[in-house]
């Protein structure tokens, strides 16, 4: 069973809060007492999806662990905008070490807590898609393989944003980055390369793998909570739009995340021990153009001479996801 939205009550569970829901059915984020893990004053850009996703996730993890949480953080925007020495936005015990070793640091913290008998203390590790899919990948795979008691959260903004928008192995095909310029016969990032981290995590057979976006808070909170109820290695991959790196409007962050899910480009699902156990269905299916057009990193596909065959290839990726993860309701 996957996340079950509450259907009616005016906005049901689509909105962050809902005065018509019983208190136990309400979200962590709607509460005045949420832990606000990343506090105001952080230096993330206007409309940063990563800052938002991190607060959603860590607040939910704090709620699920009764505030007994330690976070290890990879180098990347999340660390740089939150913690320029000597100040920090974090309101949880938080440690930064390197770009590539966060899973190993978290493993160490978990081991230390075990030795000290601090069973109640839970550990999360977090990083960007670059830190996760590229440089930290070896440590991450080891952490999975040993089934260390850590929840690893990847905030996927599809590039090395902190150092000026370079390509990562999570950058989508055709996207323009500083290192994949829209020139030549195949403009932007190449097709057919890159890594699908959630599927790689599933291949390790770990107890829990899930994807989420900042457009569906209730689903995201549900997944954090589920993950926190399990011990062993867990992986959560959160889709977080980046207005600066994607060339999108700062107010469109959530809308783009929603479109990524509604087009099928970013399948939202959960898996246990390597098997998909639930998907968030597409509610109002959209063509990929709706998602691509508002982003300047795809601007070269449009204009006077649109690259229709490239757009068709991207649509084919979405269609394949829809088939593979069964993202549409039968009648839909």
């Amino acid at each position: 069973m996957s996340y079950q939205p509450v259907k009616f009550y005016q906005t049901g569970t689509f909105t962050v809060g809902n005065r018509l829901l019983a208190p136990v059915e309400r979200s962590v984020q709607q509460s005045e007492r949420r832990s606000n893990s990343i506090n105001s004053g952080h230096r993330a850009c206007q409309g940063c999806g990563e800052a938002l996703g991190a607060r959603y996730a860590i607040d939910a993890a704090m709620a699920a662990s009764n505030g007994q949480l330690i976070a290890a953080n990879a180098t990347g925007c999340l660390e740089v905008f939150s913690t320029p020495y000597p100040e920090s936005s974090w309101q949880v015990p938080w440690i930064h070490s390197l770009f590539g070793n966060t899973p190993a640091v978290a493993t160490g913290i978990a081991a230390a807590m075990k030795v000290k008998g601090r069973k109640e203390v839970r550990v999360v590790a977090q990083g960007g898609d670059g830190g996760t899919a590229d440089i930290g990948f070896g440590c991450l795979s080891g952490m999975f393989e040993r089934n260390d008691d850590v929840l690893y959260i990847c905030y996927d903004n599809q590039g090395y944003m902190n150092t000026g928008v370079q390509r990562s192995s999570a950058t989508p095909p055709a996207a323009r980055t500083a290192t994949t310029m829209p020139v030549g016969p195949e403009p932007g990032n190449v097709f057919g390369q890159g890594k699908n981290l959630p599927e790689i995590a599933m291949a390790h057979g770990i107890p829990y793998v899930a994807t989420a976006t900042v457009a569906d808070l209730r689903d995201l909170e549900y997944k954090v909570k589920r993950a926190m109820n399990v011990h062993g290695a867990r992986y959560l991959h959160i889709f977080v739009p980046c207005p600066l790196g994607w060339g999108s409007q700062s107010n469109d962050t959530i809308r783009l995340a929603r479109l990524a899910k509604e087009t099928g480009l970013f399948p939202v699902f959960e898996a246990r021990h390597g098997e998909v156990t639930g998907v968030l269905k597409i509610r109002r299916k959209q063509a990929v153009e709706e998602y691509l057009k508002p982003q300047r990193r795809f601007a070269h596909l449009f204009g006077n001479d649109p690259h229709t065959e490239v757009i068709a290839r991207i649509q084919a990726i979405a269609d394949r996801n829809i088939r593979k993860y069964n993202l549409l309701d039968e009648e839909g």
């Binding site: 906005t11 962050v16 990343i38 506090n39 004053g41 952080h42 230096r43 940063c48 809308r255």
Partner: protein, 542 residues
């Protein structure tokens, strides 16, 4: 302070970093005017009372409703609900069933015996209201709540005006009307029945009234040029409907022809059918699209077996009741023109439903009064040309509906109140309209409209039982919760949740939110993700 190894600065919080300085435009909360409220002739705060109904607090909903309209159970039955025609939800699936929720609240209030809040302190001013129709009742109610002493003089034997002597029982059961009138009386309004006012200035003087609201309606059936035999039975619709309230039911016979195309024509034909007519035929000179009657009522009449002859005028009636009817055709302006083609129709009686005129005899000799086209002219504050005499409802130029009449009563009451204090009533400025494009409809659940139960056709043809049923509690709650709360915050916490900078402060239930401009960077996500369009961006002066 001794610092640990390699630490040279004292750690601090990012709160010291006021990121609000980055902003080039700022979000601000606002209330926009929901289209339903904007369309309501009685000026109801529909979105406002639905808000309470959504949480199941029906009494609070009813109290919010009756701030503007004292007759919700009546209104939930007879109003033509322009609110629903302009409801934004129609662009998603179907409009919110506002009218059916209103009826539910009205019926609930009667069932539970809810009474109005006590009036304000007595002002010592006396106001005369002439006519106990919806307009007079509404004015009296509002004036009484403001603390004035109100006396209604009503010519007829019962209060209600056309709600009692026009609108048939099968659409408005009299117990419902009685209950809502009684509640107004309980508030302290005096209604003198069988008290026709013959001369307004005399009555005002005798009763020492400081101001008057006239709401005598329009009761004189219009006539037309038909050659008629001396023995032909021709009656007017208003008289037929009025006699339905008396002991003697009207004798119309088995074949009844009704002439006209308004709601009165439909009501009288449906009444004739219920009285036992085997045929009730409406003759109307134009087409269905041009018919002034409300389409829903035309539909219900057709279901009950009423026949309608479109594009026809009646020329002649002979002594046996044989009608000569001329076929018409529409010209390019949509006006009916004779064709010279005739046919005949048999009838036992002909009922004329050609509209009503106002009986203005009580106003003779009032200086300054202006009458135009048979209606009394009023200024925007509802005052006639004679200072202190105000008028509204069917007797002034406007659409003739119960809802408009109630709206006039409220508006006049506010102006009368100000006038009595030697002041001028200034209505609050209207908010900008909550357009569909201001909404983010992603956040609303999919929920089609609830259909009200209908009495089956056989019983409708033979009895005066109410045709349309009401919603039960669960249906009404469902229907209320379909409201999108256009342009008005309904505390969904989206802004509080979606801000990446925690720059929204939640003030607690019922108190909405506030921006913390020290940290708001002006990204505008809250505006885009606000379902109801209750936030907007305004540029900073930089």
């Amino acid at each position: 302070m001794r610092k640990p190894f390699a630490i040279t600065l004292i750690p601090g919080s990012s709160l010291a970093n006021l990121t609000g300085t980055w902003r080039t435009s700022r979000p601000v909360y606002l209330d926009r005017l929901p289209p339903c409220n904007n369309a309501c002739p009685a000026g109801e705060n529909i979105q406002g009372w639905l808000f309470h109904a959504e949480s199941g607090d029906y009494e609070a909903a009813w109290r919010e409703l009756v701030k503007d309209n004292p007759l919700p159970a009546v209104m939930g039955r007879v109003c033509y609900h322009p609110c629903e025609s302009s409801c934004n939800r129609k662009q998603i699936d179907a409009p919110v069933g506002i009218n059916s929720v209103e009826r539910f609240l009205g019926d609930e209030a009667i069932k539970r015996g809810w009474q109005f809040d006590a009036p304000a302190a007595a002002t010592g001013k006396r106001v005369l209201v002439v006519g106990a129709g919806p307009s007079g009742l509404s004015a009296a109610y509002h004036l009484a709540r403001m603390g004035h002493t109100v006396e209604i003089h009503e010519a007829g034997p019962f209060a209600g005006g056309m709600m009692r002597f026009g609108i048939p029982k099968y659409r408005l059961p009299r117990e419902v009307l009685d209950a809502e009138v009684q509640r107004i009386v309980n508030l302290g309004v005096t209604i003198r029945l069988n008290s026709k006012v013959d001369n307004i200035l005399d009555t005002m003087k005798q009763g020492h009234f400081d101001a008057t609201f006239l709401a005598v309606g329009a009761h004189i059936g219009k006539r037309t040029n038909i050659h008629a035999g001396a023995a032909a039975k021709i009656v007017d619709a208003v008289s037929v409907l009025r006699s339905m309230e008396g002991e003697e039911k009207p004798m119309l016979g088995r074949r009844v022809v009704v002439y006209g195309g308004g709601n009165t024509a439909i009501d009288v034909a449906r009444t004739a059918k219920r009285l036992g007519a085997s045929e009730a035929i409406i003759v109307y000179r134009r087409t269905r699209e041009k018919m002034p009657a409300h389409d829903l009522e035309v539909e219900e009449a057709l279901q009950e077996g009423i026949m309608i002859k479109w594009l026809s005028t009646i020329k002649r009636v002979d002594d046996e009741g044989k009608l000569t009817v001329e076929k018409m055709e529409l010209d390019d302006k949509g006006m009916p023109q004779p064709t010279g083609e005739f046919e005949t129709l048999e009838s036992d009686s002909l009922v004329l439903a050609l509209g009503q005129d106002v009986d203005l005899s009580l106003l003779e000799g009032v200086p300054g009064l202006e009458v135009n086209d048979g209606t009394v002219q009023v200024s925007p504050n509802m005052m006639t040309g004679y200072p202190g005499i105000f008028a509204g409802g069917d007797m002034v130029p406007s659409e003739r509906t119960v809802t408009v009449a109630v709206g006039h009563g409220k508006k006049a009451a506010r102006h009368i109140d100000a006038w009595l204090r030697g002041a001028v009533y200034q209505p609050a400025a209207k908010h900008e309209l909550a357009d569909f494009k201001n909404l983010n409809t992603w956040y609303y659940s999919d929920a089609p409209k609830t259909v009200r139960p209908m009495l089956d056709v056989i019983r409708r043809q033979s009895s005066f039982d109410e045709v349309q049923g009401g919603l039960d509690e669960t249906n009404a709650l469902f229907e209320a919760r379909r409201c999108l709360s256009c342009g008005n915050c309904f505390e969904c916490d989206n802004c509080y949740g979606v801000c990446p900078d925690n720059a929204v402060i939640k003030l607690g239930a019922g108190k909405r939110y506030e921006f913390n401009y020290d940290y708001c960077k002006g990204c505008g996500i809250c505006v885009t993700e606000c379902p109801s369009g209750s936030i907007k961006m305004v540029p900073e002066d930089i």
